[in-house]
């Protein structure tokens, strides 16, 4: 082993590039191109109000995408985040409107409900060895049904809880610096992103996310309690979904029990556009954030250009296929 070449210590830059961030760089470049393209095409696009609208529109999908990213990096998938979000909102409604408890209890209820639902999915996957696709498909339907049952299929309004709508629509930053009225929903998105990125890159939980997605059997044979960590990861993802539930309930000032289906696919799309590999082991929160922004910019920009909504959906689908194809091309080249 001595007669072998010495690895030159890599620079941080080269290491970041080697870490397979091409897709993220590509996604970021696409975002910039989209922003420039739309602002050239329409003078209304680059308005501050429109930019804030885009950010606000990103917040729910962005938070969901962050949650799904964790699960996808482990090599799994979570189809239940859309209806889980609704379920968390409904439980919050029960706590705040039906029981009349103070605001803080609603927030805690949402996060705990999400964590509990996630732990359930995680248990199905880890302990009962049900494929993540099936386990979370089941959870998706269970939670959708429970939301309707608990709410009696009627929306629960938060009119009695002053300040609830401020969670998403108010602006703490705007109160301090009136010229940048960034809504709280967006602030929460960025805080969630920063905290999750830290967990993913700097803690044991994050390390096992990547390790499980990379080679689960090997992690198990190394003496790690993989079941426990997997349940913890799904639970963390669930608690983030709980935050998304608060955001959407606050924005609508109500828990809409029929809402939720379809959100999971938008979140997965954002993750994929951001360069997280669906086969696990690779991915980043920043990428998913960019992915969610791309989708919001696209929808908003096409609307500003008065493109019919039906066509916006077509374009989003095409973008997903292109993004994954670009990722596959890069991968084939390196292996």
């Amino acid at each position: 082993m001595s007669a072998i070449t010495t690895d030159a210590p890599q620079s941080t830059l080269s290491r970041i590039i080697a870490a397979g961030t091409h897709q993220r760089v590509l996604a970021f470049a696409s975002l910039i191109v989209l922003l420039i393209g739309f602002s050239v095409a329409s003078p209304n696009f680059m308005q501050t109000s429109n930019m804030l609208a885009i950010l606000q529109a990103t917040s729910v999908n962005g938070v969901l995408a962050i949650a799904v990213t964790l699960v996808i990096i482990t090599g799994g998938i979570d189809l239940s985040v859309g209806t889980m979000m609704t379920f968390c909102a409904v439980i919050t409604g029960v706590v705040l409107t039906y029981a009349g408890l103070p605001l803080m209890f609603g927030v805690i209820a949402a996060v705990l409900t999400g964590a509990l639902c996630g732990a359930c999915s995680g248990t199905f996957v880890a302990k009962m060895a049900i494929p993540p696709f099936i386990a979370t498909l089941g959870m998706m339907l269970i939670l959708k049904g429970l939301s309707l049952v608990i709410s009696g299929t009627r929306p629960i309004y938060f009119n009695d809880t002053p300040g609830f709508s401020e969670i998403s629509r108010g602006s703490l930053i705007g109160e301090i610096i009136p010229s940048v009225p960034i809504p709280n929903g967006v602030l929460i998105l960025f805080i969630v992103a920063a905290v999750t990125a830290y967990i993913l890159n700097r803690t044991v939980l994050g390390r096992y996310c990547f390790a499980l997605g990379s080679n689960e059997e090997s992690v198990r044979l190394s003496g790690v309690n993989t079941d426990r960590w997997k349940i913890a990861i799904y639970a963390l993802a669930g608690s983030i979904v709980g935050i998304a539930g608060l955001l959407i309930a606050s924005r609508l000032n109500s828990a809409q029990p029929a809402l939720g289906l379809g959100y999971e696919l938008e979140a997965i799309a954002a993750v994929v556009i951001g360069g997280t590999s669906l086969s696990g082991g690779r991915g980043s929160i920043l990428g998913s954030l960019i992915g969610a922004l791309i989708m919001a910019v696209l929808t908003n920009g096409l609307r500003v250009l008065s493109v019919a909504q039906e066509w916006q959906t077509v374009v989003t689908g095409a973008i997903i296929i292109l993004a994954v194809y670009a990722d596959m091309m890069r991968r084939n080249k390196t292996t």
Binding site: M1, S2, A3, I4, T5, T6, D7, A8, P9, Q10, R15, A18, A19, R202, T203, V204, L205, G206, R207, F210, A211, G213, S214, N215, E217, S218, V219, R220, L221, S222, G223, V224, G281, R282
Partner: protein
């Protein structure tokens, strides 16, 4: 003296297989104990029991004279037993350091990782192994050989008292092997007991103190390495009719060439391979794991792209880019993994035989002709002696040997002139093996050209009219079949590595 590890009367059964029959094994501190046997003899199973990956169905195990039953890899690690697996089991997306200390990451509290401490610790381990590698390098960027070294560093980081090495040199070159042996000598000096599994006879002589031989899941003997000739060890390993396995080799030198391959190359996996097979001939392919034999077959069959080279069928150049094109050109490939690539195991024998040739059983309106499929299936069941209650039996209920015959029937129906068999008897019991051998010989006698890839030397020697040997993607020689060729001659070609170390090419 007390043994470091002692195993007595170990039993293990898998569905349909009695994998270990009252096997015994012991290990002293500071010795290298080689575990020898053919594929399927039970070596890896025994070691997986010792390292807590499998649980035993019977027998006793002692560590330092105390009875133990490690029920998980973690429990075995706590007993001081570490294992380096045959298949690489690293996490490719993580760095070398993150791999080595997986599950034991230095922490800062609240589950936060101490990455600098992690890297420093692993750098220390690498240094003690004389291994020049940046701990922060990503595993997927390393060659197979260097990944193997990371795996070894990982096992040593547990400071094991017992270290099991399952074919640790399968991917290493001579210089790396020498370095590995230095590490083994050092561990011996520290009193570590080492179980060494390898197919390479020369290595056994170089480092083993004692040798235990297993055959077909049974314990055969334990001998001192120093005063036992290699031929004796081989004889104990093979056991059965070593001498009478030389077939009558027909003279095929005047037959027309069925398949010729010229200068086939693809990266490092296949390098400038040229050979031909004549009609009626069985050409064997021998070599170690990763020698590139399957890769050659997959390129010929169009399953993987070739970079350079020519393929000629019956003297005509053909451009094969897909398996479909290969079949059109009359080339069939029977994969080593029957269950994944060869059979639809939940379907019937009849459906499987007809599968690759459904067009012939389909009327113009697109309706399947079950009667014709039944006739054909029954014809092949008779012809190949497939033991099945009926042609409507599900394939998964057949034995391995009969499943293989169904695959062969499927390809015979395609009427291919060239048939490539990749590990045709893997997972098949000894009785059924000879039937498959007879079948292959029949096919050759009918004028087909047969290529057999096998990791079992006795099998290659038993079947082949000529033996092609590969090493590190190169064809290192073609030997005549029959009694004049010895295992040693084949092994010499199979280990004829480049004089330059593998890694220097990358500089």
């Amino acid at each position: 003296m007390t043994y470091l590890v002692e195993m007595k009367g170990i039993e293990k059964r898998f569905p349909g297989v009695h994998a270990l029959k009252a096997v015994q094994f012991d290990l002293k501190p500071g010795e290298v104990h080689a575990l020898m046997g053919e594929n399927g003899a039970g070596k890896s199973t025994l070691m997986k029991i010792m390292s807590g990956i499998y649980s035993r169905d019977g027998g006793e195990m002692f560590v330092d004279g105390k009875p133990v039953s490690p029920d998980s890899p973690r429990a075995a690690q706590d007993l001081g037993i570490g294992i380096i697996h045959q298949e690489l089991s690293l996490m490719n997306d993580l760095t070398a350091a993150q791999n080595v200390l997986i599950g034991r990451e230095p922490r800062r509290g609240f589950g936060r990782l101490d990455e600098p401490a992690l890297n420093a610790k692993v750098a220390e381990i690498f240094a003690s192994l004389n291994l020049a590698m940046d701990p922060q390098t990503r595993v997927s960027s390393q060659t197979i050989a260097r990944q193997q070294l990371i795996e070894i560093a990982k096992a040593l980081s547990y400071n094991p008292r017992v270290l099991i090495m399952d074919e640790p040199t399968a991917a290493l070159n001579d210089i790396e092997i020498t370095e590995l042996f230095k590490v083994i000598e050092k561990l011996k000096g520290d009193g570590v007991g080492i179980v060494y599994i390898s197919h390479r006879m020369d290595e056994i002589k170089r480092i083993a103190d004692r040798v235990t031989i297993l055959r077909d899941g049974a314990y055969i003997d334990t001998v001192e390495a120093a005063d036992t000739p290699l031929t004796k060890i081989i004889q104990l390993m093979v056991g059965r009719e070593v001498s009478q396995n030389t077939p009558v080799i027909p003279d095929t030198s005047q037959n027309p060439v069925a398949l010729e391959v010229r200068n086939l190359s693809r990266g490092k996996e296949v390098r400038d391979v040229s050979f031909n097979v004549r009609k009626g001939e069985i050409l064997g392919f021998a070599g170690l794991m990763g020698a590139g034999r399957t890769e050659v077959a997959r390129i010929i069959f169009g399953a993987d792209p070739r970079i350079t080279g020519e393929i000629l069928v019956a003297g005509q150049p053909v451009d094969i880019r897909t398996p479909h094109a290969a079949v059109e050109a009359g080339i069939g490939y029977l994969s080593e993994d029957r269950k994944h690539f060869g059979l639809a195991v939940d379907m019937t024998v009849r459906a499987n035989i007809a599968m690759a040739n459904l067009v012939h059983f389909t009327s113009r309106a697109g309706v399947l002709n079950e009667a014709a499929m039944k006739d054909t299936a029954i014809r092949y069941i008779d012809q190949l002696g497939i033991r099945t209650p009926s042609d409507m039996q599900q394939v998964r209920l057949l034995s391995g040997g009969n499943q293989q015959k169904v695959v062969i029937a499927k390809w015979l129906l395609r009427d291919c002139d060239v048939l490539i068999f990749d590990e045709p008897t893997r997972g098949i019991d000894i009785g059924a093996k000879s039937e498959i051998y007879a079948l292959l010989e029949d096919l050759a006698a009918q004028g087909r050209a047969i290529i057999v890839i096998s990791s079992e030397l006795p099998e290659v020697m038993r079947l082949s009219h000529r033996i092609a040997v590969m090493c590190e993607g190169r064809l290192t020689g073609i030997l005549p079949g029959g009694a004049d060729t010895t295992q040693e001659q084949i092994m010499e070609l199979a280990t004829q590595r480049d004089s330059a170390p593998l890694v220097s090419e990358e500089v």
